[in-house]
Subunit: 370 residues, 2 copies
């Protein structure tokens, strides 16, 4: 399949912290993006909106975008609840008529929409619902803890703090050091970038951990280290169940705690003062407690997202995180990711050493027999 | 609608610990059950298999069951993964031809099966998929913590330890004491008994907490106390995500920890020695830690399931649970449930007293601002 040329639909919501899918595709695959559609920012360049992405134009209509000859429209924002705004249906129909495929990570599947299905068929185009789960998922059995690959899960203080971005940076650094490392995508954006994975928040609830287990085992087959994409947060009122199912399905040996340094309230709920975030050490305690109910796991480093801070403040935030938690902390996108890469390699060495000392029986760990 | 007369399908798996749905319907609505179909136990009476249920016969074929004039076939076992065994399709088609409705809590929806849909239509019968979730579920916002009703969630050491049964007993006792108490059903069996609810393990993962929040708010409208049906266990490899989504969506003020006293290993995984259960105080710590990340909550009592113990051993188990946890413990099915009823009423009084002292602002609690 030739590389797609994306027109990214992010109408009304294109920005550094709002259009996560759009931004990640632009960050990791800028050559695939011909334009972003957002009427509220039309005429600007992506660089001016995001601080990266160069001269990719922001256009103000579907017609203007289609004039740039994309081969696919990629839905680049995830409205709360994941459903397709009614207004976009006619735009997508126009795009199909212009010969574009549609890539979507929405909860509402485009391929369940009779209008879009008919237009896709008439124009011989594809509707790619990246969130549609496989039909044959298993109930998790804890099998992920048996992989030889060292498993690292990103965990977060909230949704949309930069878990996936931090990990994709770390995957690149680890591979650059010659350690065979694979990224295991658990959300639609990761799947768009990586080409495979399962959106664990879109499966039927009983199969969250089963989906995570399956892709963790798959990712571990040819790798020394797998970095599993995290989802949500363990104290998120809406999504904590997904977070825990993913945590127990992937059985991480180690966790990287991701946080946006300036954020004080859980993001989707900023009106509610009682959803103030606890301090980082409390998150460390929560994640280690609940992970270790199935498989012993430690938080080994902090990945801070400092996009909205000046450099001095960002460095100070990293130092404060280390002071508060006793763990290495950096912004792996902005600064050197080595402290986290080193922490992962050290933790892996410690596990290998433990196995050699304990023999094969030590491999399964024993979190719940006390 | 007249009361249904059920033929319960539990083929190959009818027993005290295997056929949860069948057993619960028999326990709480024995007058509705005309027979159980299980070829491996044909000719016995339900009392002999379960220890309760009286003279309800176990039959060995669908024809034999239909001869007893049921008005509905109720699928009484939940195979792992929840899918319909292929062999049963023709039996269900026969039942539809005999004029029966079908009640099902399987993950595989009968109303997606063309054969069964055609037979149901031809015979003017209903296919009731009790696990099919509503289409318009919200993302949870934490709103359940605002109810005036005191919220109690059953939490468990495993699946199938007796959470629903214990709670239905407690609901009866609380109402008998004149406290308006409602049961909030979160699984197919509870829905069969109670007539409403949502099977939270069957919703798309992002909506687990939203579903729990919706039915908790619904149950709280005309009640002083709501007892929310628990699901799974916080350390269950397959289902912990459902457990946590339900916990955070329902925001319990208090929890009852349910345990089958003789069980030592998580039930679906008894081959794996590393899934030994931790002691009860560790479960108390896990549940209180993770619940209180959103809303302060304490385990206030232990409900033991002692069905397979003699009376002396059962009483000793209750005493041991109290000694280990410092909490009231009883088997509310077998013995007097008063220790748990009293614990719920005391905890509710304490919350009311707290509200009076703190004023309205104290109502929202403050678990995460530390």
């Amino acid at each position: 399949m030739p590389q797609p040329r994306f027109l990214i639909l992010a109408d009304g919501d294109f920005g550094p912290m709002t259009s996560k899918t759009a931004n990640s595709v632009i960050r990791f695959q800028p050559d695939r993006v011909v334009a972003v559609l957002d009427r509220s920012q039309a005429g600007r360049q992506v660089q001016d909106v995001l601080g990266f992405g160069g001269a990719i134009p922001v256009v103000g209509s579907m017609a203007e975008g289609l004039a740039l000859s994309p081969t696919a429209v990629l839905i680049g924002i995830a409205p709360q609840g994941g459903r397709l705004p009614e207004e976009w249906r006619s735009w997508l129909a126009d795009a199909l008529d212009a010969g574009c495929d549609i890539w979507s990570g929405l909860h509402t599947f485009l391929s369940d929409d009779p209008l879009l299905v008919e237009r896709a068929r008439a124009n011989d185009c594809q509707l790619l619902d990246l969130r549609r789960p496989p039909a044959d998922l298993p109930i998790a059995s804890g099998a992920a803890k048996e992989t030889d690959a060292f498993r690292v899960l990103a965990v977060g203080t909230d949704c949309n703090v930069g878990k996936m971005t931090a990990q994709l940076e770390l995957v690149g650094s680890l591979n650059a050091r010659g350690v065979r490392t694979r990224f295991v995508a658990t959300g639609q954006t990761g799947i768009m970038i990586e080409g495979w994975g399962i959106a664990v928040d879109a499966v039927v609830a009983d199969f969250i951990a089963g989906a995570a287990e399956r892709i963790t085992l798959e990712g571990a087959r040819d790798a020394d280290i797998v970095l599993v994409e995290g989802q949500g947060s363990i104290n998120h009122p809406g999504y904590s169940g997904v977070t825990l199912g993913l945590l127990h399905g992937s059985c991480p040996d180690a966790m990287i705690l991701c946080h946006q340094a300036t954020r004080q309230y859980l993001g989707d709920y900023r009106h509610a003062s009682w959803l103030r975030m606890p301090p980082l050490p409390e998150y460390v305690r929560l994640y280690e407690t609940i992970a270790s109910a199935l498989h012993p796991s430690r938080v080994i480093g902090i990945a801070l997202n400092t996009y909205d801070m000046d450099e001095a403040a960002a460095r100070a935030a990293c130092e404060a995180a280390t002071r508060d938690t006793g763990l290495p902390a950096t912004d792996p996108v902005r600064f050197d990711g080595s402290p986290l890469v080193d922490a992962i390699l050290r933790a892996r060495e410690a596990r290998v050493a433990l196995r050699h000392r304990e023999g094969p029986a030590g491999r399964t760990g024993d979190a719940v027999r006390r």
